[in-house]
Amino acid sequence: MVFNTGAALLDAIVLAVVSKDEEGTYGYKITQDVRRTIDVSESTLYPVLRRLQKDDCLQVYDRECGGRNRRYYKLTPAGAAQLRLYSDEWVSYSHKISALFSGEELA
């Protein structure tokens, strides 16, 4: 990938990935899902999850799975609101840049 993924975009992608599972999802799966979209090293994802959790955008809970506890991440209402804002912002941002590239005049 030529373009860097900034902190806000990474937050947005992680929130979006987590939001796909109503029931919540867990670290390994989040990593795999994020990596389907962008190339990111695994070591960068844990700090993002932890920060989003501290910012109250994600909530965690443990659920028994195969004889051990697995930690699940789930969007909070604040996280959902944040994701909406990110995606709105993304639409406007990407639209402007696409328009610039295609030589279209911005309204």
């Binding site: 695994e42 070591s43 700090p47 920060r51 930690r71 604040a78 609101a81 944040q82 406007s92």
Partner: protein, 310 residues
């Protein structure tokens, strides 16, 4: 490297972050391995790069999280300016057509409201008062083009009001968290200082004992150095004198006495050599090592105290 050595190394690398954070991270990566399955273990280890890389990114994340203060400085200022410049009223009138801005920002006002309650008189609440009238502020972002320079990054055209509201919301949450944590931490810190002082007083006899032992060891070492130094000098001088006398005796043909004295002289020189080597080892190796160890020990102790205070 396998999973266990990887995790053990990671835990070691994280020794200097709070226990809560360390446990959390260890849980996460342990689960990560478990979820990946034994068959993917080698692949996961490769993907994770190294325990060093993971530890570095965790620490970086923690530092970034704790360093939001610079990030936080802007919004209240912006708010103050918009409130002062009287765009507040315009904003309010225009607000009905910026309904998307209302929900996030409304809740923002809510959040800052609870913030005020939580830490009344924290100084910063003045700017939050302006913030509480959030609807006005978000409205003013529509006029944003003419707005204060500081709000530059928030002027985003049509969707601008909504987005900036959201950014604020997020930041307020952060600020709220931060202030809460801040208050807790100062409390914690005072308690810890008192605890440490009490502990220090209670363990005074122990410290006295340790100090005496250290003093004793130091005394012994100094005495040993002195004795060895004196021995090597005296033996050397004595040895040379004996050897010279022995040779003189040999010259006067007193064979037995001559050889005996000469031999004694050589033995004394050898003794001096041994003392000298011992002295060299003591001063050159043992002492620097002892000093280094002592300093390291003190450093760790202070670090530990410092960390438990932080």
């Amino acid at each position: 490297m396998n999973k266990e050595t990887f995790l053990i190394q990671l835990e070691k690398m994280l020794y200097d972050i709070p226990k809560e954070e360390r446990d959390e991270a260890m849980d996460y990566y342990r689960s990560y391995f478990d979820d990946a399955g034994v068959e993917n273990e080698a692949l996961v280890i490769e993907e994770l790069e190294s325990p060093q890389a993971i530890a570095a990114s965790i620490k970086e994340g923690l530092n970034a999280g704790g360093d939001m203060s610079a990030f936080l400085k802007n919004p209240p200022q912006v708010r103050e300016e918009t409130a002062q410049s009287g765009t507040y009223k315009n904003g309010k009138q225009q607000n009905p057509d910026s309904s998307p801005a209302d929900s996030p920002f409304g809740s923002s006002a809510y959040a800052s409201g609870s913030y005020q309650g939580a830490s009344a008189g924290a100084g910063a609440s003045g700017s939050f008062q302006n913030g509480a009238s959030g609807a006005g502020a978000s409205g003013s972002f529509q006029n944003g083009a003419s707005g204060a320079g500081a709000s530059g990054s928030f002027q985003n055209g049509a969707s601008g009001a909504g987005t900036s509201g959201g950014t604020f919301y997020r930041r307020y949450n952060e600020s709220e968290n931060k202030y809460h944590k801040g208050a807790g931490r100062t409390m914690d810190k005072t308690a810890k200082i008192i605890l440490i002082i009490i502990l220090a007083i209670c363990t005074l006899p122990v410290w006295g004992g340790i100090f005496s032992v250290a003093l004793g060891i130091a005394g012994t070492v100094i005495a040993a150095v002195l004795v060895l130094g004196i021995c090597s000098v005296v033996f050397l001088i004595g040895g040379i004198i004996c050897a010279v006398v022995g040779i003189l005796r040999l010259c006067t043909l007193s064979l037995v006495y001559g050889l005996l004295t000469f031999g004694t002289g050589l033995l004394l020189v050898a003794g001096s050599g041994i003392s000298f080597v011992l002295l060299f080892l003591l001063c050159g190796r043992l002492l620097p090592w002892a000093v280094r160890t002592g300093i390291e020990l003190c450093r760790r102790l202070f670090q530990f105290v410092g960390r438990s205070m932080a």
